[in-house]
Amino acid sequence: MGMIILFSISTMPGHSQEARAIILKSIEAGKFDGIETISKLNIIDQKGRVRTREIYMASKTFEDDVEKRLIIFMAPADIKGTGMLIYDHENKQDDMWMYLPALRKTRRIISSEKSKNFMGSEFTNADMAAANIDDFKYELLGDETVQGTDCWKIKSNSISDDITDEYGFFSQFLYIGKDDFTLRRSIYFDRENDTLKTLENNNIEQVDPGSKKYMARHMIMQNHQNGRKSEIIMEKITLNDQLDSDMFTTGFLERQ
């Protein structure tokens, strides 16, 4: 297979079918029927000051490929219990609710922009979920070694201005491991083709040997334009395809 791809690169550089196939596989490799994680989110500003949040997250894939995610803050104390529920639809805008324990209120949040930053970090909501594959055009640029792993280098371009606005970037260089189809590095560019951010996925681990699913335990997003940086450190990853569907309702958010 490697031979075939090499061959196709040398004869038809930028073959988009090939690239799209790799992206599809990589989306698959990062998709779980059910998973729970406990992680730490560090938000670091230009001056190196750190803001830390501890987050519980549960995610489950439902019919029609809807991925539902439940996020609950565990620390710091003043936002403990604040919860979020996200329905990540394949082909329409996501649904998002937020529960504020101090007000005992759940509110649906409607925002046109996926580029919104995730909890005030440099990660965006879009980074938290797989992109809609049809929102971008892909082009295979070649291969490169990243963190000692042989990777495909794929360029993705947004298909329209609206998509660019929605995601907050115009194009990406994606470095995807050839063996595990897991994203190692991603460089984001804006409309003017200036480097916007770089994502590094480190400590990639096979979380499910059976279905060859992989996850990065350490993700760093560096924003080159504002000098800020954020990292997510996975402290606990549990695969669980038996997660109760009730967990992914606003009622659950308010009860717990």
Binding site: D78, L100, L103, R107, I109, S111, K116, M119, G120, N226
Partner: protein, 768 residues
Amino acid sequence: MVLFFLAQIPRAEIDADVTHYIPEKMTSRVNTERMEDLFGGNDMLILALETEDVLDPQTLRRIKDLSRGVKKIEGVSKTMSLFDLKSIKGVNGDMIVDPAVRKIPVSDSDKEYLRQELKNNKLVFKTVVSEDFTLTALIMIMDKGVDDNKLLHEINELLITYPGNERIYLGGYPYLKAIVSKEFTKNLRILLPGGLLIMLIMLYLFFRQKRGVFLPFSVVMMAIIFSMGILPLLGWKMSVITLILPIILIAVANDYGIHMIAKYQELVHSKDQQTDGKALARKVYENLRLPVIMTGMTTLVGILSLLSHKMIPAKQLGVLAAAGIFFALILSLFLIPALLSFLNKKAPVVHGDPSKLRWLEIQLRRFSKMVVSHPRRILVVSIIIVGLFGAGLGFLKVDTNVENFFPKSHDIRVGAKLINDKLGGSQTINVLVEGDIKDPALLKRVDRYQEALEQHKGVGDAMAITDVLLEMSKALNNIDDPGYNVIPDSRNAVAQYFELYAMSGDPEDFEQLVDFDYQHAQIMVRLKDGSNTNIKDVISFVRSMTAGDPNITIIGGYGYVTSELADVVVNGQMLSLLFAVLAIIILVMVLFRSITTGLISAMPLVSAIILLFGLMGILGIRLDLVTALLSSMMIGIGIDYTIHFLWRFIKERERTGDPREAIVLTLQTTGRGILFNALSVIIGFSILVLSSFPPIRFFGILIVISISVCLVGALMVVPSILLVFKPSIVTGKRTILKVPQWVINFGPKWAHYFKILKTKPELFKQSH
């Protein structure tokens, strides 16, 4: 050596940042810099677009493009516009967060719907869009230390890339700085050659001889090069004030050279026809060494009194002008005689009717007769005039708003007025809030202050983190809920509001309003009017409102800097004035060894000061950064005329024994020299009238007026005082005159020169 200094000049940078004009330790500067550290730069550059309806699609499109474009410019840390600011609303229990304008409306009904929405958006209405929707702003928050000129250039490029029919105005402090430095260079390009040209013409009219023109001229050139070269060597930057430096040197630095040449020409015609050029030059040097040093001393003392000024560029100007004049003094004393010694003896050419030259002589005689016959009347009239103008002192106002460096019709003034009237204001002060910013009690106080500020006259808009909390409380609560449009009661609720915002907005959205650790916040107050009175009023309003609040003690921002600068200007003015008058009176007392003489010489100065400030009060010319330098400068220069007069008077009185006769003689002889001297200063400074900065223009006019007052004081008031009050130098009861021989010689040399001019005009014809 001159080449070395010449090479330094291009290294000089222009600094139009008024913040740097005041001492580093002044409160407003310390505070402003601290707040810039916490929240990034606070400088706002405002790009305003004016058109019939800003919600028209092509206008909105342009704003969107421009807003995207400016974000790419280095140094722009944040933008606020219809497309950047948020709309947070609650609809049917949902919270909707969007850009204030999410989609450009196509149909009229969409447009009206959007208009209604914007009217209800506190974050936007009357901040980036005016009440009548004819004006919209793109506000850029700048990083510290941005190159304003480069920034402006890039914005202009953008405006060309995205053209439109809207009228464009730029406002805010960064633009002001850029325009000031641009105009500055333009001014220097006109004023410097213009001043030099005028001086060349004047020197020719005075001396009608190449050496008489080029020797003083080269001294002035070298003095300018020297002092302008020191500036970058000392690590200083040019300011609006330093612009006057070369002009001062043009007006003052040639005085000594003029004396040397006059003496030279006088000696050329003296009886000793056999002496060669070398001997002549030597004689000029020996004769004038001391008088030149003395007049130089009074001028230096006057200019160095600027050192007592707190305003940094004023001090720098003092040092640089003094250095330049000192250099000119040295060159006049050594270089001019040295060069003259290489030249063959040569007399100047006089064209035209010699009787015309006598006209001045006749007028002076008439004038002197008039002075001695009506000394009392002169004194009474002078006192009345000084008294009348003195009444104007009460109207004198201080103004340090840099916007007023430009004429009313200038774009910057028009734009600032529009922005002030319709969009919250172009100048700001910032109030620092320290403590736990998530504490509801503190936030409620901040909200109250902000509310009160927005109601306060003179304040256009006040922004604080509480705005965001309130908008969110409106989105999260129904209109009849107790939590609607109020700051939540618990700290956790505040923290969760912020977290909720972080989920939906941009983390940089309120970087300007609260710091990363939620330990500091600021209220950004935009002023409707950048006048000093308004700024002071708003600051004292904030002070009294927040008195006793432990979390609010610090006020900063450019507006505060300007207002403190105004105080510095007034205090500096008074201090350097006092210093200059005292120093010069003492100097005169020492030189003449007489206390009364010192006091008499102060009369024209004090009158000139009263007249100057009185006139400014009456004409509504405000005391600003530039005009503030006037008085001490004028004193250093204006004293010379009185000194010249008194020297000669004492000499003539001793000779004739009659004070009346002595005055008439002095006015006819030395009077001419004084006139000459004053004329050269007046002509030199008059070039400033061509400046495009009104304050510099006013400076030009005012210094001409005040030098004229000093002149009249020396030629009319001082003689009248001598005749009416008969101090000891008039009655000669006490021999206080131990004036060295060179002092006494000085006047007669001039007189002699003119006597020859009068009686033997043929001597002035060129001898081949």
